[in-house]
């Protein structure tokens, strides 16, 4: 009852409130929930819904994937080598708070309006949280694991691969989950300016081409649902035995 009943009750309440608010205000631009459902169906029928979802996920996969490839090793090294952290961390902390949106003009300048621009923006958005959380993971690691590993003669890459990386994995995964959320936020903003497919493009295009707010909200709903699905998927990873020890709730 608690896990399903309450959330469903809240959702029903929300949708009813939404419906009534639209009806009572008498406006005909903002859609009711049912009109949004019809909008989603229309998009699916035209075959663009799946196409746009795939396009958005494709960009997130590339941007986020590159961010993992660079952020995790970089963060681990910064966490391990104090001098590297002292040298690079101030720079990272300056870049980190710059919103990816601020990079949009730069991305257009460098990459034009093809897929590389949004991929670059997603990369920028996710690489900093990944790097910082990987770095913190090493710094907060229990020193006993490294001492035990050294006692068994492990050094350099073996020490990293067999002990430091697995010891940090739970915290790295938490960082990835946060970064993926940010990446998904940014894909929409990135697609509004630079490309002609994807859920972000759908939203801006539906508004520009005939004020189709039912499709605007349909795009928003799809973004929300996919964001939820991505989060659930990463949370699934936290259940594996290799990382489960690192979370308070077993």
């Amino acid at each position: 009852m608690k896990t399903f009943g309450l959330p469903i009750a809240v959702a029903v309440l929300f949708l009813t409130g939404w419906h009534l608010a639209v009806k009572l205000s008498g406006g005909d631009i903002f859609p009711t929930p049912w009109q949004v459902v019809l909008g989603i169906a229309e998009l699916a029928q035209k075959g663009v819904l799946l196409k746009y979802i795939v396009a958005s996920l494709f960009r997130v996969t590339w941007g986020f994937g590159l961010a993992i490839l660079i952020g995790v090793p970089l963060g681990l090294l910064l966490g391990w080598f104090k001098y590297a952290a002292a040298a690079l961390n101030p720079m990272i902390q300056i870049f980190r708070p710059i919103s990816p949106i601020a990079w949009i003009p730069v991305a257009i300048l460098w990459f034009g309006v093809d897929d590389r621009a949004p991929v670059f923006l997603i990369f920028l958005a996710s690489v900093f949280p990944i790097t910082v959380s990987s770095m913190a993971a090493v710094q907060n690691m229990q020193p006993v694991y490294v001492r035990a590993a050294r006692n068994f003669g492990l050094r350099n890459t073996e020490l990293f691969r067999k002990v430091i990386f697995p010891a940090c994995l739970p915290q790295i995964l938490t960082g990835l989950r946060i970064a993926l959320g940010i990446a998904w936020l940014v894909v929409v903003a990135a697609e509004m300016i630079a490309v002609n497919s994807g859920l972000g493009y759908l939203i801006i295009d539906a508004r520009n081409a005939g004020k189709r707010y039912d499709l605007v909200v349909a795009g928003m709903v799809m973004i929300g649902l996919i964001g939820l699905a991505l989060d659930v998927a990463v949370r699934r990873l936290e259940k594996f035995d290799e990382v489960r020890w690192g979370y308070a709730n077993k």
Partner: protein, 257 residues
């Protein structure tokens, strides 16, 4: 070359840590000297915070002493060594590996079959049969400490260093672990250097008890326990040894405080 069968020789060892202020360094160890024979079970007891752990960490090669020498097998210690395994107070079992993989951690250079045999043997020895696939988080504190002891034994070291390994366990579990440790030590004939603040534990386990003073610590008494095993905790010999060490530490608290 070692002059006798002393596997560990500590000579005139001093350790000073930089203090909070530069002009107030913390002297932890002062002129510590003792030796351990091959196959001997030696316990180091002393008041909390006296520097026993620091001493063990220096001998194991995790810390560099300020002056003096530590010879193991006749050679100065330069760092940790797979032939001398440390069992940590805070439990150094890897939580991302199951029991089997933890116990086999020091055997990665062995063939798969050989490894499986050794792992099986030591899991049985520490009475963890049936828990091979369990993860540390699924085990009790005592069982995790057994895993760590099995991991240490499996890599076939000459010496095992133990830093209050049963300190976090409850009284009953601790007694049981001591009994098992003595049994395993008798089977394996390893040299054991065991740090504890528990005098009873030291007298139950050791061939020789080294009593350390308060900080800056030195070896105040080296006391042989010539009691047959298994030891009867009611026997006059046990009680006499225990009281002798209690007195030694009690006196030092009054004089040195």
């Amino acid at each position: 070359m070692p002059t006798s069968d002393h596997i560990i020789e500590v000579r005139d060892l001093w350790m000073t840590f930089p203090g909070k202020r530069k002009d107030e360094p913390v002297h932890v160890l002062e002129n510590v000297g003792f030796s351990v024979e091959r196959g001997e079970f030696v316990c180091i007891v002393g008041p909390s915070g006296c520097g026993k752990s620091t001493l063990l960490n220096i001998i194991a090669g995790f810390l560099q002493q300020s002056s003096g020498s530590v010879l193991v097998e006749g050679a100065p210690v330069t760092g940790p060594d797979p032939k001398r395994i440390f069992v940590f107070q805070e439990n150094g079992v890897f939580p991302w590996l199951n029991v089997e993989d933890n116990v086999g951690f020091g055997l990665l250079d062995k063939s798969k079959d050989e490894r499986r045999e050794i792992v099986k043997h030591y899991i049985e020895m520490v009475s963890l049969g049936g828990f091979e696939k369990s993860y540390p988080r699924e085990l009790s504190g005592g069982m995790r400490q057994r895993v760590e002891i099995a991991r240490a034994l499996a890599s076939s070291p000459d010496i095992i260093y133990m830093d209050e390994p049963f300190g976090a366990l409850d009284f009953i579990t601790r007694l049981k672990m001591r009994t098992d440790l003595v049994r395993i030590w008798q089977e394996e004939k390893k040299t054991v250097l065991f740090v504890t603040h528990d005098i009873e534990e030291a007298v139950q386990l050791a061939d020789t008890v080294l009593v350390m003073s308060r900080r800056p610590a030195t070896v105040q008494l080296s006391y042989p326990i010539n009691l047959a095993r298994p030891r009867d905790l009611d026997s006059p010999g046990y009680l006499a040894a225990r009281d002798r060490i209690f007195r030694e530490m009690g006196m030092s608290l009054k004089v040195g405080g």
